[in-house]
Subunit: 106 residues, 3 copies
Amino acid sequence: MSHVDAMMVRVYLSESNHTLKQLLACLHDELKVRGVTVTRGIEGYGASGKRHAASLIDLSLDLPLILEFFDRPEKAKAAIARIAHFVPSGHIVSWLVTVESEESEC
Amino acid sequence: MSHVDAMMVRVYLSESNHTLKQLLACLHDELKVRGVTVTRGIEGYGASGKRHAASLIDLSLDLPLILEFFDRPEKAKAAIARIAHFVPSGHIVSWLVTVESEESEC
Amino acid sequence: MSHVDAMMVRVYLSESNHTLKQLLACLHDELKVRGVTVTRGIEGYGASGKRHAASLIDLSLDLPLILEFFDRPEKAKAAIARIAHFVPSGHIVSWLVTVESEESEC
């Protein structure tokens, strides 16, 4: 089992701004980054201080969405540069991780 | 596009202990940290080994809640010191991240 | 308040492959790792490019599941080695974190 350096990237979205679909098309279909997952928060506060919460989680249309993916650092950085214009400044966070791999490529 | 160092902080809570409201008031209203999101797990095990699970996710009242925020490292550290008494020892985890920013401040 | 080095481990699963139960039994019951949480994504794409999405989140049986735990680095590494055969190559990601602790052990 080998270890491969990778970069985890997290993008903070809101259900109300409809960029998720565009981002997924860009990241998955075009850039083909790996390990893309989308999680829905139950409450969140943006930089603006505006609260996004759900009393009835399945009915709310303005909850925080967190899109994450990881890939080789150079590919992840290229993806960040490509998607940065989709989201407001400060909404993309990244950190280095280690991926367990049986093969030598990430 | 510039890169800013930041600290991601994760706090492990349970729906049953009612500290989320206090934490959000402290973090958001008082300390004004950025990027606060709350996610509900579907299953979890604390340090005690007690299981928190949901067969009917919307009806369970004791699922794990994960509160996360990120901000400048010094602000995040101050926030950790401020909120540490709200949760048991070992329930706050942090790591350094990079934030994409068009401006020079995080 | 002291700081303890730990390792966060994330395992990417799918609801359809039924390994969650085995993993939890292994991690929690046998290895007794700390801070195990399971989160369900609302959409995800594996390395294969196969899409896992939910239009009706509570009815879908093939959504991404993210299992996370953290523990002392040596214990987390041993856990990774133990569980690696449960999941495809490239589905386990880890990174170093800091845990706030009143005691000296993680």
